[in-house]
Amino acid sequence: MNGEYAAYARRSACEEFLYNEAYLLDDRRVFEWFDLVTEDIDYRVPVRTTRERSADEEFSDQAYHLKEDHESLRVRIERLENDFAWSENPPSRTRRFVSNVTVLDADDDSFDVRSNLLVHRSHEDSTTPDLLSAERRDTLRRTEDGLGLAARLVLLDHTVLPTDSLSIIL
């Protein structure tokens, strides 16, 4: 396999993974999504602040909207399936748009992937959606069952969240 083809195949595999998980989440098949997550998952959505251009960093390394491991993610997923989870019952309707997928680094077993994410979230009969926009930095790893999500960093474009709760997976 020549190098160019290998790079194309890698990106395709990563795109397929990201699209598939987006479908699972949009279809509320959260347990199936959770099966794609590795046991050592590191899932983070840091708090962003408005800073001067000269500031080193807009994203906090201490404050997070979500900072989850396998156990705490499982709690969130299980809770969502509870009939009394009022934030998602009736559920919000989400549509995840994933684009600009770029494989930043790869070895035989894992891929560091950057992509853009736009989540269109609509509640009840409101015609005004909540729009969440972010860059994602993911590590996808080969497992016995195909690719798995080993790490995710969601870099939001918002400092004040334009949605009333983050009871969805980004």
Binding site: A63, S72, S165
Partner: protein, 454 residues
Amino acid sequence: MSNNEARRTANRSPEGIETLMETVGEQLEDGQLPVSVLHNEAVYEAERRRIFGQNWVFIGHETEIPEPGDYRQRYIGTDPFIFVRDEDGDVQVLFNSCRHRGSKVCRSEKGNSSHFRCPYHGWTYTTSGELVGVPQQRNAYQHLDTDEHGLHEAPRVESYHGLVFAALDPDVPSLEAYLGDATWYLDMYVKFIDMEVIGDPHRWEVETDWKTPAENFAGDNYHIPMGHKSAIDAGIGSDTATGEKQSDLYAIADASGHSFSLYQIESDDPNFWGHPPEVVDGFHPERLSEDQYEVARKSGVTLGTIFPNLSFIHLGGTNAPEKESVGTFVLRQWQPKGPGQMEVWNWILAPENASEEYKERVYESGMGTFSASGNFEVDDIAIWNGITEAAGSVFAEQQAATTNFTMGRFGDAAPERVPDWPGPGETYVHGGLTDENQLTFYRSWYDAMQEEPR
């Protein structure tokens, strides 16, 4: 004028607010509140002046600006201020508006700077607000007295053990007098324990009136089994909610207009909100009375609201059932953003002298329970939003619809006044079955709304 007419007038015009407030005064005595006050343009405008313009309002915690030059942008009501530690190490709360043309002189949410320079024409101020730079002053502004043109300061700024408050009204009583009996309870959090803010606050927009969560944290313990069933079923939250520990709930309905709820665990083993002994070792019992210490020792989850819009929850618990319980202290401010709209600000604090590892767990547990993604919080908000829709409705206005705060009012009901409670305030046991805490919140609100802007 009938109540209905009064309400319709009030909803139409700022002048009608006095009539609406008269109705509020009468109805509160019967444990009722016109629901329309939770989504009403005239009420909102009056609140900006009478509530946020004339009371002590939380600005931030001193640990958010530890070094000279550290600053954060903050708001009093909706008015922009800079919360900054000046070069002398003093805390300042400066109006974020240039004295020349009014532009914001500070446009970042946080940072460190020796000066604030207006981007419009370059007028420059020190971190204590003095005007020290006016471009071409010798040619253009010879007459300008720079001493008279420093940044405006919030008229009053005081700190209570790290909690900084400011007031737009220079004539408010001292912060300590304003907090009054509430200090007895606050001392258990901020005097007994040197607290530290971890990272930056969460901020998010919610279509709910700021009074709804302020009322909820003032003492709505009745909603927990229903509102938070999903999280409790998942085995997370406080040890008392999950049934891990048995407790009695004390409602401090009126501590100088502020309200608290304290779950007390009767046991020889100390509880201290679930903080482990090695963390408790760093607390300061010498700063508490014996009575306060004993209440702290028995404390499971405790929460409350400092009028108007600062609430807190000190929660011994966890964000996942397999994980160890920790004590997490969450401060939040319900910032008004319009009729029926607010922005939530959420700070997670940990004992300053705990290990980094412990602080990290405190953060994760706080975030997993009470934050924009908090497994408890998210369900509250989904429920509260519906109140706003009803409150702004024509039908609620026509019907003079009220919300009900009459729980536990009758002789055979469970909540009882506790005569021998060691702390100040009007105290009830079985505190989940009384609305007195919430009524205290609305009485404070009603009283403040009577005050004509000065």
